[in-house]
């Protein structure tokens, strides 16, 4: 394993303890990217070979430009160099400082955490997606309500029809029941058998005349 690789490993190890996993490493630029699923961290590693304060401050200025793309940014520097830097410059810029040596790496200055707002275009995409999702949900609810109203209407009309039929039956029954109370109709069979026909039927010569109508018609 090369020296630079070992240094990267130590830095990674520090972040692993913080819940971050490496997601990328640009060997040429010495930039390590880590993520815990919510926040992304960029760590610019300054190797011992070319380490001096000037470089460190240059890297500080450089990494600030990239800070807008990440939630936290760090510079990892050799312990010997890092012990002597002014912490105020780092803290002012919100950039964290990791110091490493041959054995370990630890945090000297914590980085400020930025809750990054999404790019306007992305926000628009997400809003559209959110709106579409909401519209789909509302459409589903409307469809469901419409179906329920349909079924309620069917039930209502069915009940209405039944009520009308029942009312009609009741009216008929009421009439049939009431009629005998006020005037019980006699049974014609009884009239005929007993000869107790209504007066206008008794000894009426028309009965014979009319009963012969079919014969007269021939």
């Amino acid at each position: 394993m090369s020296l630079s690789r070992r240094i990267i490993h130590r830095v990674e190890k520090f972040f692993l303890k913080q819940g971050f996993n490496p997601t990328g490493y640009d060997e040429e630029l010495g930039e390590l990217v880590l993520s815990n699923g919510r926040d992304n961290v960029l760590v610019k590693v300054i190797f011992e070979d070319d380490a001096d304060k000037t470089l460190l401050y240059e890297e500080l200025a450089s990494i600030v430009e990239k800070a807008s793309e990440y939630n936290m940014v760090y510079i990892a520097a050799p312990r010997a160099l890092g012990e002597s830097v002014e912490t105020a410059s780092f803290m002012k810029k919100g950039v964290g400082l990791i110091l490493y040596d041959d054995y370990s790496a630890d945090e000297k200055i914590p980085a400020r955490t930025y809750r990054r707002t999404l790019a306007k275009q992305d926000q628009e995409v997400i809003r559209v997606q959110f709106d579409e999702k909401n519209i789909r949900r509302i459409e589903f609810l409307i469809r469901e309500l419409s179906e329920r109203i349909d079924s309620l209407e069917k039930a209502y009309f069915s009940l209405l029809r039944e009520v009308r039929e029942i009312k009609s039956l009741l009216e008929k029954r009421t009439m049939i029941i009431e009629k005998p109370l006020e005037k019980p109709p006699g049974k014609v069979e009884e009239y005929v058998e007993s000869g107790d026909l209504p007066s206008f039927l008794r000894d009426n010569p028309w009965i014979e005349i009319l009963s012969k109508r079919p014969e007269e018609a021939i």
Partner: protein, 422 residues
């Protein structure tokens, strides 16, 4: 179906000008009776909306409960048979006929098993044109199709029904209703070619009663037909001789003065010095040609005119005895004496009272016709009043249905028999 079934399921329907009489044979002597009318409620009225879906037309005893504004009554309250004849395209009148017929049948549908419909015998005016028969059969067909309550139906002229109920095979039936009067000679069959119709009836007596009310200071009441009819029934008198009666009335105003109460209301109508006008009401029915009536015609009271309805001429001013004579004289000469022997007066328009103390001045309808015929040389005419005139047509219907065999199918040539719809 058997003859026995038919006999026990005869159903009479008499479509009178004012009243509809109906019911099955099992009712015995008297039918149900309701006013022959229908009311078309205002479907847009707020109360109709509140009360929910209403009927298009209301008929029957509960009809007064549906009546709305008084000014709407003439257009919404329909008396379909007011003049005995319904115009072919008078849809509202036919709608009332359907509803009232349907209601009548429903009222008596038995719950018994094996019920397969009534044998309906309907009765129409003697001058009803053929299309009325067709329309009525169509209505019965529709009702049976909807409710399966009519096994068969037939239609007979009202005068024939009257003759049947009076057990008289040879007679002249004078049927006088609200709108007109029909004189029908009958000899086992109605002699249709001898029928004479007068365009005069109880409605005309109402008209002159309304004029009398106006003259007596009750012009506002004269607009309400029911009030006018009740007044007519309470004060109308038939004079033995109009001239003598008027003289008597003017000399004895106290004997003819009267106070009329309209039942169920606070209305009181007083006739004092004008009491003699009461004679005009009855006379007008029998003979509207007296000069006394000319002043009323001159003041705008409609004069009964000659009109043609269908194929029938309704004569307006012919006096009643002359109409009877003209009708009888259209029959064979040998038959005429038998016809004059039995003249049956039927219909509510012949129901006139003779108040106590006025017997020398007033007569009933029978005596009036006898006097009028006697004046024309027919001294031995037999005139009788139909017993129970309100019910006689219905009774004739029941006898007809009872006697005519079930297998005798309807013939449009003979206008008799049973029309079956199944």
């Amino acid at each position: 179906m058997s003859e026995a079934y038919k006999r026990t399921h005869v159903f009479g329907m008499d479509y009178g000008t004012s009243f509809f009489k109906y019911g099955p044979i099992s009712l015995g002597e008297t039918p149900e009776i309701i006013e022959n009318r229908g009311y078309f409620p205002d479907k847009d009225a707020i109360m109709t909306r509140i009360m929910g879906e209403g009927k298009d037309v209301v008929v029957g005893k509960d009809l007064p409960l549906y009546l709305e504004a008084r000014e709407d009554l003439p257009s919404r309250l329909v008396y379909p048979f007011r003049n005995g004849i319904i115009e072919k395209n008078d849809n509202r009148a036919w709608q009332v006929v359907e509803e009232i017929s349907r209601m009548a049948l429903r009222e008596y549908v038995p719950k018994e098993e094996g019920f397969n419909g009534f044998y309906v015998v309907a009765s129409l005016s003697a001058v009803a044109p053929r299309y009325m028969y067709e329309k009525l059969f169509d209505i019965y067909r529709k009702i049976d199709s909807d409710e399966h309550v009519i096994a068969a139906a037939t239609i007979i002229p009202q005068p024939l029904a009257v003759a049947i109920s009076h057990k008289v095979p040879t007679s002249v039936v004078v049927e006088s209703g609200h709108g007109n009067t029909q004189i029908t000679p009958i000899s086992r069959y109605p002699i249709r070619t001898a029928i004479i119709a007068l365009n005069r009836g109880g409605g005309d007596a109402n008209s002159i009663t309304a004029e009398i009310l106006k003259d007596s200071g009750y012009g506002d009441l004269a607009k309400e037909e029911t009030v006018v009819r009740q007044v007519k029934e309470q004060i109308g008198l038939v004079p033995r001789n109009l001239d003598e009666a008027i003289r008597f009335g003017k000399d004895n105003p106290d004997k003819l003065a009267t106070v009329i109460n309209i039942p169920g209301t606070r209305l009181k109508i007083t006739l004092e010095d004008n009491g003699w006008l009461r004679f005009l009401i009855g006379e007008y029915i029998f003979n509207p040609n007296h000069e006394m009536f000319q002043s009323y015609f001159a003041r705008g009271m409609p004069k009964p005119g000659d009109v043609k309805v269908g194929d029938t001429f309704f004569l307006g001013m012919l006096d009643m005895s002359e109409a009877i004579i003209q009708s009888v004289e259209k029959c064979p000469i040998e038959l005429q004496p038998y016809l004059y022997r039995q003249i049956i007066l039927s219909g509510g328009n012949f129901e006139w009272k003779v108040p106590h103390g006025l017997e020398n001045i007033c007569v009933n309808s029978v005596d009036k016709i006898k006097i009028m015929l006697n004046e024309k040389g027919l001294s031995n005419a037999g005139v009788i009043m139909a017993s129970s005139p309100k019910y006689s047509v219905w009774r004739g219907c029941i006898v007809y249905g009872y006697a005519v065999p079930e297998g005798f199918k309807w013939s449009w040539d003979r206008m008799e028999g049973w029309m079956s719809f199944r």
